[in-house]
């Protein structure tokens, strides 16, 4: 008879997370060991820029412009940087879309994989941490000068003793910062932060008290201001009628604002 425990460690199923599963199956790219920094003369990566989020009376509003750039070139003017991860979670991205979209995909599958295998929804802390780990795993690329991603994560916490919307932003190494009012990242974010600070402190009412149309007005004005000084931010393309993507996270899930609705607010209070 075999000694008890000989095969035990391997036999007990570990609660493996989805990225670990992908690595075991060789389906997730690894950071190359040390190829040295990327030569900028040889390669210019695509960047997506300027996202913002703030809490208002109806939940969390998350908005992003539509521009993707590589150096001085506009690559795409209809990029979607506000990505739905599950029924109550949004990841908005500034940085390199190639990496960010892949992260969003991993994240989306991670949450579903957890729910399906563990038969319960992943906690908000677990979700926030999952994105943090992806960012840290990506840091090797960042140090080589490619693939930097600085996301915002918005979700709704039902399990807390004070249920409500939650908002986080990250740095490129994966540190997460929970914010109570607003967050903005990307090249156009300094201007946006200024506006959100100003509105929150000296505006007609604090951001948390805004109605939806008022919140949309603030978001559009902020992105328009960012685009004024930052060529990498698309703002609102008036001739092409390309409007930012705006989504709201609330108790009922995620709602995407219709383009006509955004256009109407834009015409009334921004243009």
């Amino acid at each position: 008879m075999e000694p008890a425990g000989a095969a035990m460690p391997r036999e007990f199923a570990a609660l493996e997370d989805f990225p670990t599963l992908l690595r075991r199956r060789g389906l997730m790219s690894q950071t190359p060991l040390s190829p040295g920094p990327v030569d900028r003369a040889q390669f210019t990566e695509t960047h997506a820029t300027t996202i913002l989020a703030f809490k208002f009376s109806g939940g969390v509003l998350v908005a992003g412009d539509r521009r993707a750039t590589a150096g001085n070139t506009v690559v795409y003017d209809r990029a979607d940087k506000v990505l739905e991860i599950d029924r109550h979670s949004i990841m908005a991205i500034a940085g390199v879309p190639a990496t960010a979209w892949e992260m969003a995909r991993v994240l989306e599958h991670s949450f579903q994989y957890f729910r399906r295998t563990q038969l319960q929804e992943m906690s908000v802390d677990g979700k926030v941490r999952a994105l943090s780990k992806l960012l840290r795993d990506n840091f090797g690329f960042v140090m080589q000068g490619v693939g930097v991603v600085v996301p915002i994560f918005a979700t709704y916490d039902f399990a807390s003793h004070e249920p409500g919307p939650r908002l986080y932003f990250y740095d490129a190494m994966g540190a997460q910062f929970e914010v109570t009012e607003y967050a903005a990242t990307g090249s156009g974010s300094p201007g946006v932060r200024g506006i959100l600070y100003y509105e929150n402190k000296w505006g007609k009412k604090p951001l948390a008290k805004l109605r939806e149309d008022e919140a949309v007005t603030v978001a559009l004005r902020a992105l328009d201001t960012a685009a004024e000084a930052d060529t990498a931010t698309g703002g609102v393309d008036r001739s092409g009628k390309i409007f930012p993507i705006i989504k709201v996270v609330s108790q009922d899930g995620i709602s995407t604002l219709a383009e006509e609705k955004i256009a109407a607010v834009f015409k009334r209070s921004v243009a």
Partner: protein, 259 residues
């Protein structure tokens, strides 16, 4: 000992008998196509028996919880990696069952020195229309029964697993009679629950070949089914959301069963 072929056949037969005995007390599970989607229903024995596998795939299982868990994990892992590397549309129940699960279960069953999977599985994949719904049953020995080959017409808009062949046959014959494609979820829940009762009655009255009457079914249902004991889930047909699986709430089931 089992180098001799007939010893092996004998060992396999013993093992089949052993597994069938182990499965016989399993509470039947009914999957049934209706207008709103595919309904899974069983009456609870205390632990969850209906599970989400992927966006459009669900599973019901009877057997040993440890074996069910291993198969469930394998199915989720395979579907998730496929859906991640390609797309959710490329995840196919047919391939999952035939290509991945069946060979492994067959091997485990036939290697008489190892343990077989003590489980009987019921899978369904919801289609855009009811004719595209796929139902598969996977046995402990890897055998698969499907509701229709890809080219053939769909045979049944339902599938059943239970502890015994007789009980399964009784439910199938009942549902073939009572459940018509195009039925609504409310009717589906009612029919599935009656189907569960029919399986229970088939277990009781092995001496009579007569199907139970409606009155017998109603009486047995009142006696054996408590509203809270019903476990139900649906794979929704509507493509409004990517993830179609949803557990039915007690009030939804109560409304359909009048309990």
């Amino acid at each position: 000992m089992i180098e001799e072929p007939y010893r092996w056949v004998e060992a396999i037969a013993n093992r089949r008998e052993y597994i069938e005995t182990q499965l016989v007390s399993g509470s039947p599970i009914v999957a049934l196509g209706c207008e709103e989607g595919i309904l899974f229903l069983t009456v609870g024995s205390g632990r969850q028996k209906i599970f989400e596998i992927y966006d459009r795939i669900a599973m019901g299982a009877i057997g040993h919880p440890g074996d069910i868990e291993r198969l469930r994990m394998a199915a989720i892992e395979l579907a998730s990696t496929e859906g991640f590397t390609r797309s959710a549309a490329d995840v196919s129940l047919r391939r999952l069952a035939y290509y991945s699960l069946s060979p492994v279960m067959k091997t485990a069953f036939e290697q008489v020195y190892g343990a077989p999977y003590l489980a009987r599985l019921l899978f369904a994949e919801v289609g855009a229309t009811q004719a595209q719904d796929l139902f598969l049953r996977v046995e402990y020995d890897g055998a698969i029964t499907s509701n229709g080959a890809p080219t053939a017409v769909q045979l049944d808009a339902f599938a059943v697993i239970s502890g015994s062949r007789d009980a399964t046959a009784a439910v199938e014959s009942y549902l073939r009679d009572q459940h018509k494609p195009g039925a609504t979820l409310v009717h589906g829940i009612d029919a599935a629950l009656n189907g569960w009762v029919v399986a229970q009655l088939a277990g009781d009255t092995t001496n009579t070949k007569e199907p139970p009457t409606d009155a017998q079914i109603a009486a047995a249902r009142a006696e054996r089914v408590r509203a809270g004991g019903i476990e139900g889930a649906i794979l929704e047909r509507s493509d409004a959301r990517a993830i179609r699986y949803r557990m039915l709430s007690e009030s939804e089931i109560g409304a359909a069963t009048g309990a």
